[in-house]
């Protein structure tokens, strides 16, 4: 990552009043809006951390072994390409902001100034979802939990910096649970029959960041002679 391109420093602080009540939108749903970041880099390093039964299919295993042998070299984020879903959520130093509106939930990332859209207006997945870096996400509410499902993710993305691979069959389910005002747990389910023998789930904790300004962190590999 081009350190010189780090334009804005984030002044972080865990929000006070962690136990304060979870805010709600006018329709009665929990309001996930705010700036969040992972409480650690544990799952960015290894998304399977703490998950006992992750069995990789042979083809994916070979790719994973190769990436591990290369010490994680070659991952797309080295070249300023997006980490993809779910990895782009997981870096402790890269917070993101949720803007929850009636028909869509938007996630704005400090990293690369990228955004995700999770459509909650009841639309189905498109018939022809060409693979993209961030996929196509639709969401619905299950009680107080926002359930986002994402498909159409390019095989180029890594599930984590450790190199866990996925195929074009990947379906990521994220269950966003804002348990307190200052804390959100997200259950991330990886369902990819081509790469793993069965779906597996990890729960990643995010904390609210009391910062009104997300800032931006731009990445440019060829920035050595860039100056500006």
């Amino acid at each position: 990552m081009g350190g010189g391109m780090s334009i804005a420093l984030l002044v972080c602080g865990v929000a006070g009043a962690q136990q304060a009540r979870v805010p709600r939108t006018p329709d009665g749903r929990p309001d996930l809006s705010g700036i969040w970041r992972s409480t650690s880099n544990r799952y960015l390093r290894d998304l399977t951390a703490g998950s006992a039964r992750v069995v990789i299919q042979p083809g994916a295993r070979a790719l994973y072994t190769e990436r591990r042998a290369a010490n994680g070299k070659g991952r797309p984020s080295e070249r300023c390409l997006p980490r993809g879903v779910p990895a782009m959520m997981l870096a402790r130093d890269e917070p993101w902001k949720v803007v929850q509106t009636p028909g869509a939930v938007f996630i704005l990332f400090r990293e690369s100034l990228h955004y995700r859209q999770i459509f909650t207006d009841g639309r189905p997945f498109p018939d022809d979802a060409a693979p993209t870096w961030l996929g196509y996400s639709i969401g619905r509410w299950d009680g107080d939990t926002l359930v986002a499902e994402t498909i159409g993710l390019t095989e180029e993305t890594w599930l984590d910096d450790g190199g866990h691979p996925h195929s074009d069959a990947l379906r990521v389910t994220e269950r966003f649970r804002r348990s307190t005002a200052g804390m959100m747990d997200v259950d991330i389910t990886i369902d990819d029959a081509k790469a793993y023998t069965s779906p597996w789930t990890v729960t990643v904790r995010f904390e609210s960041v009391s910062n009104a300004d997300l800032g931006e962190h731009l990445c440019a590999v060829a920035s050595v002679d860039a100056g500006k």
Partner: protein, 267 residues
Amino acid sequence: MKTPKEGTPKKGLVIAIGVAVACLLASPALAQWVNVPQAGTPRTPDGKPDLTAPAPRAPDGKPDLSGIWQRPRGSQPGTGGADGIGAGIQVLFQPSGEAVYKARGDSNGKGMPSERCLPHGVTKAFSVPEPFKIVQTPGLTLILHEEFNHYRQIFTDGRRIRERRAPTAFGYSRGTWDGDTFVVDTTGFIDNAWLDFRGHPATDALHLVERYRRRDVGHLEVQFTIDDPKAYRQPWNVTMTFDLLPDTELIEHICENERDAAHLVGN
């Protein structure tokens, strides 16, 4: 995946823009455009969006600018061309601004930040053929650009500008309403920026004012006032119009110019 189209000479730039437009027109690209009828869109009896119906209103009574917008094909000012967004406008440079402008022209636009996938900045991002989406919410208006998948925040909650904020490509924007016109004031820009593909410069002294007016359902007009006393002897205005792109969704466009850059710097 679209073809990277930055970092081209003037003539090449025109060709590159043409390629971008061709990509938009090409049927494979069109096939990817999702058909998502929006419930709130007024329609004519045959079910088509009524693009000349009165502009919708937000719950607070202000015009709702939300929607996906795109520059009309062949519209002026063009993205490239000899004079960029300054075409047909008298732009009075400061000597230093003129020198930068000339140097960028002489080098055929080489070195513009978007070559390295860095943000275009406000006016340049609006000048491309790719659409953008406005999401108007209470307290915050978002602009989601299809190009590079970059976003911009416009705060409408009356917050003050934080001092000692690091400058950024899109600056720090606050919006207010002047009747039915959404007025956005932006400062806090990085220095040595590009206002367009032609290389009109802007400095960290830039104060950009945008005035958004949704004439009806299908038409949006934005007037930009470029007030940068370090680069120009007097403020100048550019107006761009945009057409609503109804019942669809943005296509993801990630800039991949950096894809092969790693080996160039010996990583």
